[in-house]
């Protein structure tokens, strides 16, 4: 993401191909495409990935929470949350400019003024992230070559996927109603703050912490929050937990593939320009992913329980690689990307295999293991920005016009970046754990967080009256208002012929 006081050198002068002078049609086309790729990672990507990994009786509930979570985030995003993450610092007026006015309010470094992004001019004018803009006067051109609408939607798909990753920790027992209340509150109090801290120009951005596409803002946040929530909501039914056997590996393949290639938009869209850096981020993303995938498979073959390559192991490795490279995708070179994938995959494989035996890890039922594949993977991925960031990959311009690049220990001789990354991670861990705890504590005063045991026994049918693979045998149509039933339509009959035109 754009770093405070930095401006991407690679951006060319926007050709005036539109009536809006700031707009570069190529940049804007890529931004909307990238955003759509990321949206597809959630729906249907995560919906079918998780659906394949749960038992048959939880498929509908899993997909329903994914789609509804995606929906409610957009509502709070345009009504107040986008501005909290990317707007004017809290307590400062709408016309505030970083270049002329200092931040006077301490909390302004953590969150922005809530506000809507609904009006015509708000959506169509040149995009603006006030705290970042302040550092972007530099040499012409200044600022985004995109309309605000593109940035609002691009940032929305990131805000939306975060609680959906978190969902993996609490699947198969969280109450649907609690999910619908939790997601908007978490987006408001946790995600918007994470985003402001690292991307909106807040405290950690000012300290020089770098999170290219959300190793901390998204993956560490989802892993930690999911773990806390899983502890508070309690485990799945013992019987479900004892045989948490995925019901469809082909669905996992479909979801996993969409998530992998959707990540080209996830990391490739973050420069905000269809630039060389965007292409570098995409190729780095895929290199880290194949390195991590193959590393996981090799660990499985060498040290796994049966010493065999497993498909679900490959999927875990793939996810770890994608998460690992996310914070550094546009800051590292190809060698760094390969190293990051292999190292993070090894760390997470070890944690998945050995740390999972620790008693406190067993006690918390993190259904999909999000704390490993997103929490731990995101944490170390972020640290590795400080190790592998190569200043020759991308150069930004500071307020004064001097070039700045993200430097790490090996290629930039700047080991302090590791410490900055670590402290930013600790902030995210503490804040998100606290917010998750408080939100669920408050909700639990009004309604239980989990379904009843009787509902858990049945699953989808108890919660939604739908099942994933309904049987059409032995079924009769209940006619509303008549209090009686009739057989379902014979094949070939039209609805009106069977129910007398009343349907």
């Amino acid at each position: 993401m754009l770093h405070l006081t930095m401006h991407l050198l690679a951006a060319a002068t926007p050709p005036n191909a539109s009536d809006q002078g700031y707009l570069n049609t190529g940049d804007n086309a890529w931004q909307m495409t990238a955003a759509t790729f990321v949206a597809l990672m959630s729906v249907p990507g995560l919906a079918v990935l998780f659906a394949g990994l749960v038992q048959k009786k939880w498929v509908v509930n899993t997909m329903m929470m994914t789609f509804s979570g995606f929906a409610v985030v957009l509502l709070v995003w345009v009504l107040w949350a986008y501005k909290m993450g990317f707007g004017t610092p809290l307590g400062h007026g709408a016309n505030w400019k970083a270049s002329s006015d200092p931040i006077t309010n301490f909390f302004a470094n953590f969150v922005g003024n809530p506000g809507t992004v609904l009006s015509g001019p708000t959506l169509t004018r040149q995009a603006s992230i006030p705290l970042v803009n302040g550092g972007m006067p530099g040499p012409a051109p200044t600022g985004f070559a995109l309309p605000q609408a593109s940035v609002v939607y691009f940032q929305f798909v990131f805000a939306a996927i975060t609680p959906l990753l978190f969902l993996g920790s609490v699947l198969s027992r969280i109450k649907f109603k609690v999910w619908l209340i939790f997601v908007p509150l978490w987006t408001t109090f946790a995600y918007a703050v994470n985003a402001m801290l690292l991307w909106g120009g807040g405290y950690w951005a000012q300290q020089g912490a770098a999170d290219y596409s959300g190793g901390y803002v998204i993956h560490l946040a989802a892993g930690v929050s999911g773990f806390v929530a899983a502890a508070m909501i309690g485990p799945r039914l013992k019987r479900d937990r004892d045989r948490a056997i995925p019901h469809s590996l082909p669905l996992v393949a479909i979801g996993g593939g969409i998530v992998w290639l959707g990540w080209n938009g996830f990391n490739g869209g973050d420069p905000y320009f269809a630039s060389a850096n965007a292409a570098t981020a995409i190729v780095n993303t895929n290199m880290a992913t194949v390195a991590a995938l193959m590393t996981w498979v090799i660990w499985d073959m060498v040290a796994g329980p049966a010493k065999k390559p497993t498909f679900l192991g490959a999927i875990n490795g793939m996810v770890v690689g994608l998460v690992a490279i996310t914070p550094s995708a546009g800051y590292v070179n190809g060698a760094g990307a390969l190293m990051i994938g292999a190292i993070d995959s090894t760390i997470v494989w070890m944690a998945w295999t050995y740390l999972s035996r620790a008693r406190f890890m067993k006690r918390v039922d993190d259904a999909m293991g999000i704390i490993y594949t997103h929490g731990i993977a995101g944490f170390f991925g972020g640290i590795m920005v400080g190790v592998f960031a190569d200043p020759s990959v991308v150069v930004y311009h500071s307020v004064s016009g001097s070039p700045i690049a993200v430097k790490g220990w090996i290629f930039g001789g700047y080991p302090k970046q590791i410490l900055i990354q670590f402290l930013a991670a600790v902030t995210i861990i503490m804040w998100d754990a606290l917010v998750t705890f408080l939100i669920l504590k408050v909700i639990s005063l009004f309604t239980p967080l989990r379904l009843t045991d009787a509902e858990l026994e049945i699953g989808d049918l108890a919660v939604h009256d739908e099942e994933a693979y309904p049987d059409s045998e032995g079924v009769s149509r209940a006619l509303p208002g008549y209090g009686e039933t009739m057989p379902v339509m014979p094949a070939g009959a039209t609805a009106s012929a069977v129910v007398g035109g009343g349907a």
Partner: protein, 112 residues
Amino acid sequence: MILVTAVIKPHALDPVREALSYVGIAGMTISEVKGFGRQRGHTEIYRGAEYKVDFVPKVKVEVLTAAEMADDVVEAIAKAARTGKIGDGKIWVTAVDSVTRIRTGETGPGAI
């Protein structure tokens, strides 16, 4: 020789298998079936239309054993599968004329 057939709640399968091992039963065949008895079915809703589903998922357990084991086997299944609620299922016993082990060609009680 007899065949004991039981139709039970799917959740009861594990306790039933354990109870049968305990009385010395070394093999069984199970299948997922659907049926209805006194237990009511449920309603499902698709695109606003309500459907009554009368058949409930059950597991059918089949155990081939010596006639003198009949009471023990029936009792073990009944105990393990009982919740006291409607829908616990049924057990029945039928006589078996002959049993052959395919691999060896053995017949009679020794083939069980």
